[in-house]
């Protein structure tokens, strides 16, 4: 009993440290769950995913995720928490070399530059206006475009900023089903094990709920403190622990009950 109490205290301390860590530094999100940059490159002739993975590894400092985009795999997506313009340029150079494409960083920037300059349509502009625009872009952003390039609306290389996944969003769908099942199971425990000892009808359910919730918070705290990347495994981990704990508590309580009944029979 004493050991268990010490364990509870240690777990609660860990949870408090975890809360502090989340408040100060947030969780350490894995690439796809963090604020990250997504660069989509269209390679219509087809490509080998392992080549692009290798190029991304060679050119981008951060950990990258490379996966096919579009159902016919004519585009590839490279994602990382941060990708600098130089890194994109190097990546595109390697792709150009391998697949005979001619992508440049300015292809990627065109759309955002025109948006920033509030230019909606190039085709409606006069030659003079376009010449002025080209020189303005060169002066402000350092990229030199031709009239044809500005008029071309296709986007062979795109970039997007992807917002991070909120941990609460990841877990909010758990709260209601876990709370409902937890309450029903607690009531069942109260009724089923009331024979165990005098106040078992209240102690058993409260202890069960307390331990279930404590364990879940403890796992999240360990993830936060140890800076383990938050990723797809989190939901599975939490549900598995919840169910295993529930099974173990039930088997243990049933065993206690059986022992008590055998003792009474004697």
């Amino acid at each position: 009993m004493e050991k268990r109490r010490v364990l509870y205290i240690l777990m609660i301390i860990a949870i408090l440290v975890g809360i502090f860590m989340v408040w100060k530094k947030d969780f350490n999100f894995d690439t796809l769950y963090a604020n990250h940059k997504r660069v989509e490159i269209s390679i219509k002739s087809g490509y080998e995913l392992k080549d692009i993975k290798q190029f991304a590894k060679e050119t981008i400092k951060e950990k990258t995720v490379v996966r096919p985009s579009t159902l016919f795999e004519t585009s590839v997506v490279v994602e990382a928490k941060n990708i600098s313009d130089d890194e994109i340029s190097n990546l595109l150079a390697k792709i150009n070399e391998k697949y005979n494409t001619d992508y440049e960083i300015k292809d990627l920037k065109k759309s955002s530059i025109l948006d920033e300059m509030e230019i909606e349509s190039i085709s409606e502009k006069s030659d003079e206006e376009i010449a002025t625009l080209i020189s303005q872009i060169k002066e402000k952003y350092g990229y030199e475009y031709t009239r044809e390039e500005l008029e071309d609306t296709s986007l062979p290389v795109k970039e997007a900023d992807i917002p991070k996944t909120n941990v609460f969003d990841l877990l909010k769908g758990f709260i209601t089903p876990m709370a409902i099942s937890g309450v029903i199971v607690a009531i069942y425990f109260g009724i089923r094990y009331k024979k165990l000892f005098e106040k078992a009808w209240i102690i058993k359910p409260v202890k069960l709920i307390f331990e279930l919730v404590l364990n879940q918070l403890f796992i999240l705290s360990v993830i936060a403190i140890a800076r383990i990347p938050v990723s797809y495994y989190i939901p599975s981990l939490l549900i598995t622990i919840w169910l295993l704990q529930l099974l173990s508590e039930t088997f243990k309580s049933e065993l206690e009950l059986r022992k008590l009944e055998t003792k009474k029979e004697k």
């Binding site: 996966r67 997007a160 425990f189």
Partner: protein
């Protein structure tokens, strides 16, 4: 006595062969010739987007402007102030050169804040879930309000653009004066419906499709109030005139109607498509789908900000191939360990127990395929967990009188079963997946019990 022994051995051999057959079918599939290749006969596993791929939709805050008529009392300068840096441009001029309309942003600058971005994100997420796409991740960029919705690729995915870009404003207005008579707050629930149209015949079955509005008590009171005013009247010369109401959704007039003054109304059916021929299934389904989108959108709050659809792209999972192989290898290793343990513990009976366990996994996987259970990663973990639970069950059955052990097992599983049943009804893919796998896992325990009676019964063990 000897004959009885031979029969029992024969039954055991048949049972083992049956299990092996089920294992082969479940693990390797049944293929039939289809032109030049072989086609899997069994239904595919319904894997979640994390394991297959997803379509990503982006919704961008609408930064366009719209024309707004200036109120007579409101001087043009006030509007200019209200719209801050936005261009205020006269589009029509009165004789006194006073502008009558002005360009205003569709989203007022004061509405563009983090709270509204988060609220919009929650509303869009709920709409997508209401539409029946449970496996959805929605995130918001708190700097610019851009919302990214990630849904599994499939027929329903194509509707996500409409679910995110509709503002979701519904009102019943006076057709003539445009005075709002009933707004969203007075509507309790909206459901898509289809009923046989008036012109339908046995040869030509046609249906009216639309949405049915159910009102709050206040709304119902107001509806019955207006049903006495917005009616058809006949004047002294016999001419009929109708005073009508219009159901307006997102600024678009959807239905104009009038009431029968004698009726008492609790609901209002808004027909969006009349006499749709059911023979053209594609058109019928598309039209009904549109009604279902209205249902999903209008049952949630109105978006505080107007959004437009940005880009959409399909992204393959980064886990798929590797992850599935790791799971298969992990499963084989786990099964081998369990088999070695039970053989060491129970000898020949242990080998039979391992066969029963393999059969359990095979039957469970077949049921998961047949029931189209959405398999998320948590569901795959649950298959492993259920295999361990089944192993525990087999262990109990080997160690004692079977009926008594079955009772003990069932009692032990009650809290687990309660949890599983609650999980089945969840709207979270990870929880539902666990619930469904757990449910079918427990049902499959019936197989374990029956085959244990055949293969692991002491009396049969000769």
């Amino acid at each position: 006595m000897k004959k009885e022994g031979i029969t029992k051995t024969l039954i055991k051999i048949i049972a083992v062969l049956l299990i092996i057959l089920v294992c082969l079918i479940s693990f390797f599939g049944i293929y039939k010739r289809n032109l030049n290749n072989w086609k899997q006969f069994l239904p595919d596993f319904n894997l979640s987007k994390e394991l297959t791929g997803s379509t990503n939709f982006s919704f961008i805050v609408d930064d366009s402007t719209e024309e707004k008529e200036l109120d007579e009392e409101e001087p043009a300068e006030n509007v200019e102030e209200a719209t801050a840096e936005e261009t205020v441009e006269a589009t029509d001029e009165t004789s006194e050169d006073e502008p009558t309309t002005t360009e205003v942003p569709v989203n007022a600058p004061e509405t563009l804040n983090v709270d509204n971005y988060k609220k919009a994100k929650d509303i869009i997420e709920k709409r997508i879930k209401n539409f029946g796409i449970v496996d959805v991740n929605v995130s918001v960029d708190e700097q610019n309000g851009t919302i990214i919705a990630e849904v599994p690729d499939g027929t329903k995915a194509t509707n996500v653009a409409a679910l995110g870009s509709s503002t979701g404003k519904i009102e019943i207005i006076d057709t003539e004066t445009e005075e709002v008579l009933i707004d969203r707050k007075m509507i309790k629930k909206i459901s898509a419906y289809y009923v046989a149209s008036d012109t339908a015949t046995a040869e030509n079955p046609t249906y009216d499709l639309g949405i049915s509005l159910e009102f709050t008590s206040e709304g119902e009171k107001k509806l019955n109030e207006i049903s006495k005013i917005y009616i058809e009247t006949v004047d002294s010369s016999g001419d009929t005139t109708q005073k009508t109401v219009t159901v307006r959704i997102d600024g678009e007039d959807k239905r104009t109607t009038y009431f029968s003054p004698d009726g008492t109304y609790t609901t209002l059916n808004v027909t969006l498509y009349q006499a749709v021929d059911i023979k053209d299934e594609q058109i019928f389904n598309d039209r009904y789908n549109e009604c279902a989108i209205y249902q999903a959108v209008l049952n949630e709050d109105e978006l505080p900000i107007k959004y437009v659809t940005g880009t959409s792209s399909y992204l393959e999972s980064n886990l798929h191939d590797d992850f599935i192989w790791y799971v298969i290898i992990g499963g084989i290793v786990l099964f081998a360990i369990i088999t070695l343990i039970v053989i060491k513990k129970y000898g020949k009976k242990g080998l039979l127990a391992a066969i029963v366990e393999a059969g359990y996994v095979a039957v469970l996987l077949l049921l998961i395929r047949a029931a189209s259970v959405s398999l998320a990663i948590s569901g795959i973990v649950m298959i492993v967990l259920m295999s361990l639970v089944n192993y525990l069950f087999i262990n109990m059955l080997v160690n004692g009188e079977k009926t008594k052990q079955l009772k003990t097992f069932l009692v032990n599983m009650i809290p687990f079963f309660i949890t599983i049943i609650v999980f089945v009804f969840s709207k979270n893919i990870n929880i539902t997946s666990v619930g469904m796998v757990g449910f079918w896992g427990l049902i499959t325990c019936i197989y374990t019990f029956l085959f244990s009676l055949l293969l692991l019964d002491e009396r049969n063990d000769d």
